[in-house]
Amino acid sequence: MDRDRLLNIRNEKKPEIVEKLIRDDVVEIRAERVVLKGDYYKNQLRIALRNCDIINPFDIEEYIAFDGYFALYKALNDLSQREVVDIMKNSLLRGRGGAGFPTGKKWEEAFSFDADQKYIICNADEGDPGAFMDRSILEKDPHSVLEGMAIGGYAIGANKGFIYVRAEYPQAVKTLRHAIAQAKENGLLGEDIFGMGFNFDIELRLGSGAFVCGEGTALIESIEGHRGMPRPKLQRTAHVGLWGKPTIINNVETFANVAPIILNGAEWFRSIGTEKSPGTKVFSLVGKIENAGLVEVPMGTKLRDIVFDIGGGCQNNKEYKAVQTGGPSGGCIPKEYLDVSVDFESLDSIGSIMGSGGMVVMDENTCMIDIAKYFLEFSVDESCGKCIPCREGTRRMYEILELITEGKAEMNDLEELEKLSHVVSNTSLCGLGQTAPNPVVTTLKYYKDEYLAHIVDKKCPAKSCKALITYTISDRCIGCSICKKNCPVDAIDGELKKKYSIDNEKCIKCGSCYEVCPVKPVKAVEIY
């Protein structure tokens, strides 16, 4: 492969592809860029997702047609390693895996550390439940990640890369395998890339279902073939990482941003987003939202614009209650903060985090204590067990939340919960434990009255906690007997055409009767 061939492929292929996509009504041209058509995409700016749903991920030439591998060529041909590092530093690109650490700074650490062997790792473990940004990039535009990694490898002086993919993504594994093979065939990976003396190879390693392996040092342990337990941070992985060698770990979306930055320059990137968080961020907007899907917008976009303008608000005209960002390490953002600007600093300041980009929307029927409990259960399950505050602390917190949702908690349990949150975040070894209390802390902060309702009044305002609700049948009942037929425990009795009733001793609160009740517009089965 050389520059002429890249140009030839681009000149030949691009018009063809674009013409077909326009004919199929999939894309439109906006500001000289080919973008997906439709209301959902109107307010989006796609950089990391630039090729997703536009190119065929199994055809490397389609990637090249949309400027693919031109950045790698530019880096190898026109720029020194130092210059690549400087561009990345000046772009102020911050890691998209959660912590937001400046990528260029990280690369510089590894670049300026002498060693006979260095490694570059792509973190494709995407463990945050409710997030699928990385999966989409891997499956729809794998070469953008390979190219980003190769540029990173050149910059820091590494000739070997690993992609650590979670086992739950078999399709991503398949796509990546294919893409790596195609890149090698075309001389874009492997020995002597572009004939310029740079060697770079990429190997896939699979996860095996452990969330904590998304943490950098745990991931390294896992690749080495050990239990995936985080290391104490005595040294930077940029100095002492995989098999003791300098190692750079970046997230999938971070790598997908690299090629556009090298091609268009740091200034261009900084002109998008906010001063401290430049560029765009991909969010997976899911939960009780009208238009669920992936959204890529400039940093600093208002949360309201994402949830309502793009996402279309809550499903079935229900009332918005919260959006949960950052998964098990993040927090819930209430209505009052819908106008918050979505960037690293602003989300931190209201107690949530940007995280990897999961955004789960909740409506009036979601119980916030149940959600806090859900995330704590996740952390209990996924804690690797190495440090005590996380292993034991999260479990105790979970137990208290269980008491609350069962209506068995007292006020002093709440104090205990607050105290534990503090201890666990301050004393845990890695990010998992340090952030595990966040869902509790933010719900306590913004939805204290809901906690109090469970503890003092023994009521669940969202009517979701089974132990705290009762089902009854009102006078609206038309006596159709459908509920009786569907009750799994024969708790419903009555005569045809007369009002039925529920025996609360027998009722297991499965909700079947409510679901099947045909009375309109308001169901005859009521929940208290």
Partner: protein, 161 residues
Amino acid sequence: MEYKFDLEKNEVLLKEFKAFLSEIKKNNGALMPALQKAQELFNYLPKEVLKLISDELNIPLAEIYGVATFYSQFSFIPKGENQINVCLGTACYVKGAQSILEEFEKELGIKQGETTSDLKFSIGQARCLGDCSKAPVVMINSDIFPLVKKKDVKKILDNYR
């Protein structure tokens, strides 16, 4: 329930596995790929296979056991011919995935983490299958079922019975 590993019946697979081991033996960090391959071939990690790995890769059995128990994808009882994974990730959870899981458990008469006695089905849970916009999601083997409702469960299972 006791499961016995039939060496004779698995002869071909064992041969394939041995060949795989000698291929990756020299690589750094060969243990994880070895365990993953074993799980894929035998549907679980039989003691006999773990011993083989220990001999070939020269890693103590205790250490292998330590690694294997750490990761949730590895199992020590055979997984069913059809592996049901109900997603309990956040998006699926807020859309009622828990009741979908319960429905599968009820239909098959086993709990999650278990295998039916005819080895036909096993139920597990996943922490997000990456299809959150179509929650709740269930994966059987590698087939994805989006937007699952409780009443669909029986029909879905019928495809595999």
